[in-house]
């Protein structure tokens, strides 16, 4: 376990910061991760190398348990890789302090604990912590309001976070991630609890924001069609490594889907983007013409 660095920074070594206009470069060099240390048998990722360049929306696909969340956690320092390096604009991730990193990297988790009553405004305000200074929080509140408006949840501002539904939680956590104003934003299945309209709206918004805010957005998704519809690039993980990477039309093929997810898929093209239709080859006869029914009676 690496100890926490408490030493003062020497003057010749500058604090990590990112020029707002600089292009984002995320370089992953032979990244490995195993729960329980490098010698453990429980390897999740081995020898992953990728170069992600520019403000864009990247989706990570792959079956359950393949290590999508682990992968993201290795990129935002929640986990320490057991091998390899991650470079953020030529800065080694392991040498960037948690505090400096929070100014450029945001994270929207899959689940959020909600043991105590905190208002939605205060929850989103938390996202401003990396940028907070002593004194007035009015500027932070301005950002909070901007994000609440962007996600369309200003009406929830004074509600307690733990009174809200799963979908509303997701929106609040998203607003918090955006309020952090990161250059790289990681999201773990950000739309899993949202209805179809918001799945589309939020994913489209993420793509738009990636351009507007010069931000690299990397999200884990289980919805192949939404990922294909909006992503600039897709990373498909399988068996501890990258199975395919590239533009949606190159990654979302029926061969890749059937190999990685072990399910038949037919790929059609919609507006130049691939769209999959799942094929079920189970031929059991369930007698679909039976007379069981559900009727509205009032």
């Amino acid at each position: 376990m690496k100890s926490i660095s408490l030493k003062k920074r020497t003057s010749d070594k500058d604090q990590f910061a990112m020029d707002p206009d600089a292009e984002i470069d995320l370089e992953i060099n032979s990244l490995s991760f195993a729960y329980g240390g490098p010698d453990s048998d429980f390897k999740v990722l081995s020898d992953v190398s990728l170069k992600i360049h520019g403000a864009q929306l990247v989706s990570i696909l792959g079956p359950n348990g393949v290590g999508k969340s682990t992968f993201i956690h290795c990129l935002n320092k929640i986990l320490e890789p057991t091998g390899g390096t991650v470079m953020v604009n030529d800065n080694d991730l392991s040498e960037i302090t948690v505090k400096d990193l929070a100014k450029v990297m945001g994270y929207v988790p899959y689940t959020s604990s909600d043991n105590f009553p905190l208002s939605v405004t205060d929850t989103v305000l938390m996202g401003r912590h990396p940028h907070s200074k002593w004194g007035s929080i009015d500027d932070d509140l301005r950002v909070v309001h901007e994000m609440l408006t962007l996600i369309g949840i200003t009406d929830l501002a004074d509600r307690n976070f733990n009174e809200l539904s799963a979908g509303q939680h997701q929106k609040v956590m998203l607003a918090r991630g955006l309020a952090q104003e990161p250059r790289i934003l990681f999201l773990d299945e950000p739309t899993s609890n949202l209805d179809v309209r918001f799945q589309l709206e939020i994913t489209r918004m993420l793509k738009r924001l990636s351009r507007q805010k010069n931000m690299l957005v990397i999200m884990i998704s289980h919805d192949i069609n939404i990922a294909a519809k909006y992503s600039d690039n897709i990373i498909m993980l399988f068996d501890g490594g990258v199975y395919a990477v590239g533009r949606p039309q190159d990654v979302i093929t029926s061969e890749n889907i059937s190999h990685v997810y072990e399910v038949g898929a037919q790929v059609i093209t919609d507006n130049g983007r691939p769209h999959i239709v799942l094929v079920d080859d189970d031929d059991t006869d369930y007698d679909d013409d039976h007379n069981y029914h559900v009727l509205r009676t009032g």
Partner: protein, 353 residues
């Protein structure tokens, strides 16, 4: 006014309104300190007590005996009650936050069981960690040092192994059982008289707070509470779990380690003088939370104010109930439990999961 200004304005208005809870209870606490001078086993009316108080401040002591009771016994005790209540409530706020657990309290890590063992060792075997001390001071000193053993063990273990909040709670409980078993063994073999005093210590009483030891209490509670308050935004970030807190720029293990030590020191200072006063550290934060929410900027001062006011009132009842009457630890739980239930049912909002 633009929509944004209105939003900001509304946030501040709501915060100010919630802060009124803290202000209200600070006022109640201050008034209670003064009022409590008129209550106790020594009979003196409230007006007389207040006159004695004013006489003492203006330098003209009229009745020596009245002055002794009002100024030398009741006033330090009341001030002590305020700071002890405040400190325990503050400790509870921080512990519940750090442990992500509404059942956490200042004693969760075994502070009280350590203190009790230290006290019992001194009372029964005459053992003192600091050899020069004897009697009451040895008890206090033993209790203080022993109560810091659990947090020392937890800190030591966490240097080698990353401990989750749940692991810390379990470790605290394990240490508590070890300490309790030793204490119980000692108590089983003790004589009736020492047993009673040990038991009395256990339940918690403010009768040992004097002008001599009050500064010690006040300094510990004030300094540590102020330090903890400066962490309020970092602690807010901890509500969303260690991982999220880290992505918000907070080092969760470091913050937890530092806060655990601070809370333990504060609780140890309190417990070693008063014994284990229960309830306020567990429920005080929740009562404040029901009115002001969990944002530490508001919750901390509110819980502190409520804790202070509550313990002075509870101690006033304890004093009125006689020399051998109910100790404050009993009163605080007896009154506090039903009060908590009432507020919980009355405030029909979902406060916890």
């Amino acid at each position: 006014m633009s929509i944004i200004d209105e939003f900001i304005d509304r946030y501040h208005r709501l915060s100010r309104r919630r802060l009124m809870f803290a202000v209200l209870f600070f006022v109640v606490a201050a008034v209670s300190v003064i009022m409590s001078l008129g209550f106790g086993t020594y009979h003196i009316s409230l007006t007389e007590a207040l006159n004695t108080f004013i006489d003492h401040i203006s330098g003209g002591v009229v009745d020596r005996k009245d002055d002794l009771y009002v100024w030398d016994i009741r006033l330090p005790r009341a001030i002590g009650a305020a700071f002890i209540g405040a400190g325990l409530a503050m400790g509870g706020v921080v512990m519940q936050n750090l442990m992500q657990n509404p059942l956490a309290e200042p004693y969760t890590m075994g502070v009280s069981s350590g203190a009790f063992l230290g006290a019992v060792l001194s009372m029964m075997l005459g053992f003192s960690v600091v050899p020069a001390l004897s009697g009451d001071m040895a008890v206090v000193c033993n209790a203080f040092l022993f109560s810091l053993i659990p947090v020392a063990i937890i800190t030591l273990v966490s240097r080698f192994k990353k401990l989750s909040p749940t692991a810390i709670i379990l470790l605290g409980i394990a240490i508590m059982y070890v300490f309790s078993s030793i204490t119980q063994y000692l108590m089983v073999t003790a004589e009736a008289e020492t047993l009673a005093s040990a038991y009395h210590w256990r339940v918690g009483s403010l009768s040992k707070v004097t002008w001599e030891n009050l500064p010690f209490l006040v300094v510990f509670v004030t300094v540590i509470s102020v330090i903890l308050y400066t962490f309020h935004r970092k602690l807010d970030a901890m509500y969303s779990g260690d991982r999220c807190a880290q992505t918000l720029g907070v080092n969760p293990s470091l913050l937890r380690g530092v806060c655990l030590v601070l809370v333990s020191l504060m609780t140890a200072a309190v417990v070693s003088f008063t014994g284990t006063i229960g309830f306020i550290g567990l429920v005080g934060p929740h009562i404040a939370r029901m009115f002001v929410g969990s944002s530490n900027k508001l919750l901390m001062p509110s819980a502190v104010a409520f804790g202070a006011a509550f313990l002075i009132l509870a101690d006033t009842v304890a004093k009125v109930s006689g020399v051998n009457g109910l100790p404050v630890g009993v009163i605080s739980s007896m009154v506090g439990g039903p009060l908590f239930l009432y507020i919980l049912i009355k405030k029909n909002r979902k406060v916890w999961m």
